[in-house]
């Protein structure tokens, strides 16, 4: 009896952790999905998330307001995405190289700024972080209540975005325009709709979401900033969009799969099972490669993803 209870409570805590871990990935993945649907391969997600995490932390620390931190992080992500857009959409610089440059900028700048801002202090100060906001009524439901409806506001927002973005992309005129920019930009151009403004908007939306996703890591859960704290999550986001076949619902499934893996890994470390922690930590990356190698479908990518549009 007691044994069963323990089992159930462990499962519930893994499930709740999965939802929490999924939040930053989902926020950034939904943003990247929209950017890629418009034909732009934003490989700078890692850098945008990292700067979002740092600026979010710094702004929250200086202002005392967590929401101001999130706002600043969104602004930072959007600004980096604007740089990305100018470089790749207007100046036609290679998208992969520009993305890498932004990743390196994010790593270098956050690391430097952290040292400059908190010079002399051994550790970066801990700030309060967002707490769980139970939804009245729903959170009282047995089993699923505490898992799904006792989370942070940003988590609700991330999950709500999935149907919203799905509706936008597949049921509205503007969504059609975004998808058309990625599938057949020439048709858009012929219709008199500028391709560049659409792609700018999609990329900047992606950057804002990556910034907020990064902020969830620092002000949302860790309550501090640690150098390189995104640790490859931005790259996982790109993989999630590929594995999710560039569609919102499968992207949600892929996000949950990676998050479950991470939650299990934490749980195993928690119970102190005799597995080297390095093996557990490298799991998501190994699984990502295997998932891409054995994925049954190669389809789904926008036809002109990564190809800059040149009007002849």
């Amino acid at each position: 009896m007691l044994d069963q209870l323990l089992q159930a409570s462990i499962l519930a805590s893994i499930a709740a952790a999965t939802i929490r871990i999924a939040t930053p990935l989902l926020l950034a993945a939904i943003g990247e999905l929209v950017a890629e649907r418009s034909g732009v391969y934003n490989m700078g997600v890692e850098g945008m998330m990292l700067m979002g995490a740092f600026i979010g932390y710094l702004a929250a620390y200086e202002s005392g307001s967590l929401w101001f931190g999130v706002f600043a992080a969104a602004l930072t992500g959007g600004l980096m995405a604007l740089v990305f857009a100018i470089m790749t959409i207007t100046l036609k610089v290679e998208q992969i190289v520009t993305g890498l440059a932004l990743n390196l900028l994010g790593a270098g700048l956050s690391n430097y700024w952290l040292r400059a801002a908190f010079a002399g202090e051994g550790k970066t100060p801990v700030i309060p972080h967002f707490s769980d906001v139970p939804i009245p009524g729903l959170s009282e439901l047995p089993l699923v209540g505490p898992i799904l409806f006792d989370q942070r506001v940003l988590t609700y927002l991330a999950f709500l975005l999935v149907p919203v973005v799905w509706f936008f992309l597949f049921r509205t005129r503007y969504g059609l325009i975004v998808r058309c920019a990625g599938e057949n930009p020439k048709a858009l151009d012929v219709k008199g709709v500028g391709v560049a403004p659409v792609q700018y908007a999609a990329v900047i939306f992606g950057g804002i979401m990556a910034g907020i996703g990064g902020a969830f890591l620092s002000v949302g859960s860790a309550a501090r900033f640690v150098p390189d704290m995104t640790n490859g999550r931005g790259w996982l986001v790109i993989i999630i969009v590929i594995a999710g076949l560039w569609r919102p619902w499968p992207v949600l499934v892929a996000t949950l799969a990676f998050s479950l893996l991470d939650a299990l890994q934490l749980q195993i470390q928690g119970i102190g099972l005799d597995v080297p922690y390095q093996l557990l930590l490298m799991m998501p990356y190994v699984v990502a490669i295997v998932a891409l190698a054995i994925r049954p479908s190669r389809g789904g990518a926008p036809a002109t993803l990564g190809v800059p549009y040149l009007r002849e």
Partner: protein, 360 residues
């Protein structure tokens, strides 16, 4: 033809590049990067002039400082060349970072079983082992690309993360950890396996000459060999190469193996030339910086050597800059990325011109 229209002005692509435009673009990019860096110095509370002069003094102010700059440049020449070979073929090997680890680990794995052998045996062995290690690790990405159509950008980045944990597994209470040691590192390597020092009074080691030789070899490879032709052809039009009857899979595999081998060599210059033990901190970051070096060097071996020395100077001078001005030397890595962004933008911008649109 145009990209955007601004009132009566129009930004349009030039049909051909005007001679000198590239030079102007470079100069503007450099000026822009310098101004932004100066602002960062001011933000950190230091005078830009003081900071730049400390950077210069720290990097070339004495024989010792110059030697140290070349030491810091050495692994960057290798990783820059690694990126050069791959990027010329438009194969985006972002994995030099992991391939440096693989090279260092493979070399250490074989060499630490050779204790007692003379240097004449150990040195060639570590060079060959690092080449093999780096190439094999890049080979994983090649097989994933050619057999399982996994994009090399993604696979190489994942492999970069994975190998850091593999090294940690071997070093932390693992088979390679220093007996009784507290840190995640191997014991000090026996002197017989150190790369010989070239110039007394400095730490400049034979790895630097190896790097220069590699640059010459890559130049010959690119300009004088059939593979070099295939690399450049793959870079400009992969389809055409395929139609012509070339086995594109083979080209992808060979390019990644060569690229990985070059990156692997960067692993031993740090482990056997500088730190004399294997630890993550000794070999971290060179792969990613190498990509910047390759692009600033315009994917030409000679340019890469120059860019690597510039970056070696920045990193080396950064230490004195921190001591003299209090600006954290971590700023150097931000400056490197800023340089890259400005140069990319600057070069590309010279393909455009602003023209006044006449209304009919």
């Amino acid at each position: 033809m145009s990209a955007i229209t601004l009132a009566a002005w129009r930004l349009e692509r030039r049909r051909e590049q005007r001679p000198g435009a590239r030079f102007v673009g470079l100069a503007v990019a450099l000026a822009g990067a310098l101004i932004l860096c100066s602002l960062l110095f001011v933000a950190a509370g230091a005078s830009p002039l003081h900071a730049f002069s400390a950077l210069l003094k720290g990097s070339f102010g004495s024989l010792r400082a110059t030697g140290e700059t070349l030491v810091k440049a050495t692994p960057l020449i290798f990783t820059g060349l690694a990126a050069c070979v791959a990027f010329r073929a438009r194969i985006w090997n972002i994995g030099a970072e992991g391939q440096v680890f693989a090279g260092a680990m493979c070399a250490f794995w074989i060499q630490h079983n050779l204790a007692g052998f003379p240097a004449a045996v150990q040195l060639p062995v570590i060079v060959i082992a690092s080449i093999v290690g780096g190439a094999l690790y890049a080979g994983i990405a090649a097989v994933l690309k050619t057999r399982f159509s996994v994009d090399e950008v993604i696979s190489t980045v994942m492999l970069n993360y994975i190998i850091v944990y593999v090294l940690s597994l071997l070093l932390l209470n693992g088979p390679w950890s220093e007996a009784g040691g507290f840190f995640e590192q191997t014991a000090r390597i026996d002197k017989s396996a150190w790369l010989p020092v070239l110039l007394s009074g400095t730490r400049l080691h034979a790895g630097f000459l190896l790097a220069l030789a590699a640059a010459v070899l890559v130049q010959i490879l690119l300009s004088r060999t059939p593979l070099g032709y295939e690399i450049k052809a793959a870079g400009s039009n992969l389809r055409a190469l395929e139609v012509q009857g070339t086995n594109v899979r083979r080209v992808i595999l060979v390019v990644l193996l060569v690229s990985g081998a070059l990156a692997g060599l960067a692993g031993i210059t740090e482990v056997y030339g500088v730190h004399h033990r294997l630890k993550a901190g000794a070999i971290m970051g060179y792969g990613y910086t190498g990509i910047i070096v390759a692009i600033l060097g315009q994917l030409h071996p000679a340019g890469i050597v120059v860019a690597a020395i510039l970056f070696g100077a920045l990193v080396n001078g950064g230490t004195l800059m921190q001591i003299e001005t209090g600006v954290p030397s971590a700023l150097i890595y931000a400056i490197e990325a800023i340089l890259l962004l400005f140069f990319l933008g600057g070069w590309s911008a010279c393909n455009f011109r602003l023209r006044r649109v006449r209304h009919a």
